[in-house]
Symmetry: C2
Subunit: 219 residues, 2 copies
DNA sequence: CAATTATTCAATGGATTTGTTGAATAAAAA
DNA sequence: TTTTTATTCAACAAATCCATTGAATAATTG
């Protein structure tokens, strides 16, 4: 193998990986799977994809070693292949959010719309939890909470938020979080709670980012 | 903007960035530019692209804020837009090399072919420089050396290697490096020097990785 | 065993990406 | 000014990607 052939092999391989990531539907699937294992059915329900289309995208991700699958009864469950890929995906989306003006604008507009301008960073959160009385609220579906959540968080799904608000004290500040910067659940939670007189902010990032942070600390 | 529109905007934007990276020719250009500024002409000379084709790929990279250009006289010089992108690219290729079996095999086969199995990591290099008498040899073209090189390295281009070997002592160990793991210059240097009786190994990574490392240390 | 359910496969046509060709620019040299 | 040189633009055909459709598969239920 000469120099040119080698280069071609390497760049073709790298480009193949990038191609697998170069599609909005697949990115949305990846973001979902970074919460934990999901069935094809649940992926179809939260994205707007047809069943066959979602399945095809999943095959592409599988062929590129990004996701793996496991069959149980009628259902096939998909998950990300390892934490290293998750870390890479975080890096990429963090870069995109901070360096691509268009994306930054979109994200900020969304945040403004949702009363969440003064969001809390992961570092701030750590300090706040040690020093103050804050209630950390995981607003993802309970199934995702059960697969893993930020230490000390309680699970309050969006459904519960809409019916059972009286349970919480209005004195402590509430920090709501969900799946990461692209996820709108926390924004909606902030909106609902603010309208009902609670002190509430959202976490800038979400559970996957926190988990990556933890993994890095333990190295 | 509702939740679905927001998601679409974010994932479309992210996918657009990935698309810009999802092409082997563009990746090779990026790798070249991570050495420093290059004219279109020099990009055409080291890649196998036609002039018009290279120019088109450069436009795609420019539209996606990955490279910037500057005109001087007849020539247009391109360079990466900032160090953050370079860090991202490093992350991506590091992931690809370590997690994609096919790429890992290709890379290792190449290294074996070139006698460079026992390569030196950046961390090892740091220790070796402090403790031992090693000669750190930058085998990239001199123009790239002049734009920046690892502290303490001397420039020995491949041309010089082929004519002026006698200048170096055979007692000290030589570490050769070039542009990074995909770059084959260091492998060729190791081959030549080994055949001539020198003690020589290659650096696992290259100048761009070293530079990123330095930037991280200074934060 | 037949019916049902969740997922995958295969085929189709429309959209996008790619490399090539040759013409158009724009700056420097003659 | 005309000519030369380096780069970009525009148009085209080939290749690839994508969503949709309907059939095929494989595990479970009746």
């Amino acid at each position: 193998m000469n120099g040119r052939e080698f280069k071609n092999a390497m760049y073709d391989g790298l480009a193949k990986l990038m191609k697998a990531l170069a599609n909005p539907a697949r990115l949305e699937i990846i973001e979902m799977l970074s919460q934990g294992e999901k069935s094809v059915e649940s992926i179809v329900n939260t994205t707007n994809l047809s069943i066959a289309n979602a399945s095809q995208h999943l095959q592409v991700l599988k062929q590129n070693n990004i996701v793996k699958s496991r069959k149980e009864g009628h259902y096939v469950y998909y998950s990300l292949v390892n934490d290293d890929f998750m870390a890479l995906y975080q890096q990429i989306s963090k870069y995109a959010i901070s360096e691509i003006a268009e994306l930054e604008r979109t994200l900020n507009r969304q945040r403004e719309d949702n009363y969440a301008m003064n969001s809390v960073s992961l570092n701030e959160l750590e300090v706040m939890i040690q020093n103050e009385n804050v209630l950390l609220m995981d607003v993802r579906p309970i199934s995702e909470y059960e697969l893993g959540h930020i230490t000390g968080a309680i699970s309050v799904s969006m459904k519960e938020l809409l019916c059972c608000l009286k349970d919480f004290s209005k004195e402590n500040e509430i920090i709501a979080y969900c799946r990461g910067p692209f996820c709108v659940l926390a924004d909606e939670a902030v909106k609902i709670l603010t309208e009902n007189g609670f002190k509430v902010r959202r976490l800038d990032e979400g559970y996957p980012e926190w988990k990556i942070n933890q993994l890095e600390k333990n190295q």
